[in-house]
Amino acid sequence: MAARFLHNKTAVATVTIVLVIAIIGIFAPFIAPNDPFKADIMNKYAPYSAQYPLGTDNLGRCILSRLIYGIRPTLGLAVLTMLGTLGLGGLMGLLAGYFRGMTEEIIMRVVDVMLSFPSQIMVFAVVALLGINVQNVILANVFIKWAWYARMIRTGVMQYRDKNFIQFSRCIGTPERFILIRHLMPSIASDLVVLASLDIGWAIINISTLSFLGLGVQAPTPEWGAMLNEAKNVLTSNPTQMIAPGIAIVVLVSAFNLMGDALRDILDPKEVNA
């Protein structure tokens, strides 16, 4: 597996990019050249310089520092969203696929309905009605996404639940919990990893969109979507302010998308035997 991973250039490159971005985010206070909140109003709209490598925004704050601090909410919230989605969707999918019968019928009917929900509009509705804060943004995104995972994981579980190794395990009296966690979970893990890394990109875009609309992370917290919202207000006077946060989003999302594709190639069982 490790050799296959190192062999795949896209995988190595994208994982490196994501890790570097994450590390920069974690060590933001040591790396950022300036305080992301400190407004230097005399120097607003400053061009690129040694003191402000990416210039300053409409309040004279260092754009690079804000970008670096912005990694934390952007990436952190996306990861939290995916963990929530995987947790809820995974649980429902496992239960439906393994226990069948009534459990499955109920869960899958709910999933059917959730999949026909107009998702983007429901996100707005959930955030609007529950109140605008970060916690509700995550809730809303998990709410509209879990059903996809439930269905996917159920299909995966159904492929494995009647395989010999699981039947044998059941035969010798292994508890259901053990079968679910130690036999079924590892079998479907690779599918999940691929799907999750593709969808983190989706989550990043969704969260930054909500912040851009003023429904997510609130100013003055540096978040890429919120930074673009501020840039929008000064679009005519300082059009360059929107470039850096936008490119940051594109790089991170593309890295996750390409990583998902590469991981799929690596983890594809058909290739392993070849």
């Binding site: 509009i121 609309l213 790089v251």
Partner: protein
Amino acid sequence: MTADIQYKIKKETRLRAGHHFVYALLRALSVVVLITIAVFFLMRLVPGDPAVMVLGEHADEAEIQKLREQLMLNEPLSKQFAAFLGNIFLHFDTGDSIKYGVSSRDLVLQYAPVTLALVAYASVITVISAVILAFLAATHKDSLIDHAIRVIPAFTQGMPVFWIGLILISVFAVNLGWFPVGGVGSGMGGFWHSLTLPAVTIALGQIPSLVRSLREQLLEIMDADFVLTLRAAKIPESVIFRKHIFKNAFVPTLMLFSVNLSYMIGGTLIIERVFAVRGMGKLLFDAISNRDFPLVQAVTLYCAVFVVLISLITELIAAKADPRMRQKEKSFGNNAG
């Protein structure tokens, strides 16, 4: 004898089509009902008094009581719910806006036309360019055009649509001055002219996935045996394309487009905000910041019903155009059971 069999087959097909229609209708209805329920209970889940949240902490006690009366918050939950459902399903009444004091339905009807025009404009751009690009890519497979058409979307997929909008504004509106920066122009020409940039922005978000799917479909069908047979029979290439290949690629593309339409409506609301278009997006986001709960509920419901209706219609068109789609339901049911 043959006539008898033919009659039986015909009858059976009609029956199955009828089943399909009922099934699709029931599913659409259940989604609408569930969305209604969700929209109702989401507001009640909020900790604290909605009336206080609307009017603020320091509002007059009498004012708060009045609003509580208006929102029926003093009644038991079951009664509120019954009234809410009754008003919606019997009178098509989604309650009055708190901020504007008029019926939310009238507000939606007033703001909806711009949004519908924008969605229609964007759909036309999307479909025309997707068909042309996919056609080019499929007929020139593995050429430079094909690669370009396939590689560029990989990058655009990582772009937030609102950012594309900002770039288009700064290039075509601020720098070149070809289009207005925002708002809706007056007169027929001005109206469509001012909607061009937003429509293009929305379309740019939709085109990649549509092109990719349509290209795959076209390639698959172009390789099919029946196309080879048609070629062997010296049917003109243009006829094969028009009557056979496109017809086969139409239904899957339509289905994908209808799935995307749900995102497109959501995207339109966002893009309206970027371009300061006074449509449903403005109504919704203003309602959110004013904590105008009935209006938020109304806009959500109307948008959701619109999306559900469109997907119901496309599903029925697809079933009509391609008999294989009617069979899908059955195999799907088998998988589920």
